[in-house]
Amino acid sequence: MPTPPETTPAQAPRASVEDMQLVRRLRDGDESAFMELIDHYHQSLVRLARRYVSSQAVAEDVAQEAWVGVFRGIDRFEGRSSLRTWIYRILTNTAKTRAQREARSVPFASLGGDDEEAAVDADRFRPAGDEWAGHWVSFPNQWSDLPEQRLLGDETRRVIEEAIDRLPPNQAAVIRLRDVEGFGSAEVRDLLDIGEANERVLLHRARSKVRAALERYLEEDR
């Protein structure tokens, strides 16, 4: 079981008071504390593990192994990172070890060949030669005037969920950690072993595609 170093990337938050309370309960063997954690994080950990290993079954297994690493390491948790970051780092370490055993190359090693993808389809802009070349053919719509219940409805969220599922795995991993889970940029770079520029490119492409999917959905019946 790889024990994660409790290194803290710059700007990453330390453990909160709530984290330390949860840690104390875990150390005491409190099952409800463990349930809270698995309800929050297990599925997200499985998805992240999927980035490193060949099948869903192995990813489930890696996540379970990571939880065992969490109990075993909990006495050594000192709170230099948030509890969540620490758990995710145990997962990525466990997944990388498993990937090596599977003789599978760890992703993110190279991003080469990632083709240029435009955030917005080229035909939304006026063509070269036009007096207003590169400007909108017709403006995007403000969404702020849409009713909140439409924006935050189950159907809208399903559209986003499906859009994320269709993303290339690296983009999906970054947008999930940043925008769904709410990790900071420094933590995500640290967890995924990627540099600042890569992280931003992946996030940009992911967000752009999710926005486009949302646009298609929200405007199909305008």
Binding site: H42, Q64, I164, L214
Partner: protein, 83 residues
């Protein structure tokens, strides 16, 4: 000191750097100037902010009973080893 004006097509590729605060001052000024005169890009930026906000509301489905049981089983095993 006279950079060409940004086109909308260029601006949409700068939106993430802009929102992340990962942009030098000169570029930020060019983006702000463009936004000030362009309702289309202002709407686009607003759409991107809405996208981020709604993405942040996604929630996990409940764990399936077998998965939960298997994790709890592992936890109890560890706890018994403790005591």
């Amino acid at each position: 000191m006279s950079e060409p004006e940004l086109t909308c097509r260029e601006l949409v590729e700068l939106v993430t750097d802009y929102l992340e605060g990962a942009m030098d001052d000169a570029t930020r000024v060019r983006v702000d100037q463009h936004l000030a005169g362009c309702p289309g890009c202002t709407a686009y930026l607003d759409e991107m902010r809405v996208t981020i906000r709604v993405t942040g509301t996604l929630t996990e489905r409940d764990l399936s009973a077998p998965v939960r049981d298997s994790l709890l089983h592992a936890f109890r095993g560890w706890r018994r080893g403790l005591t």
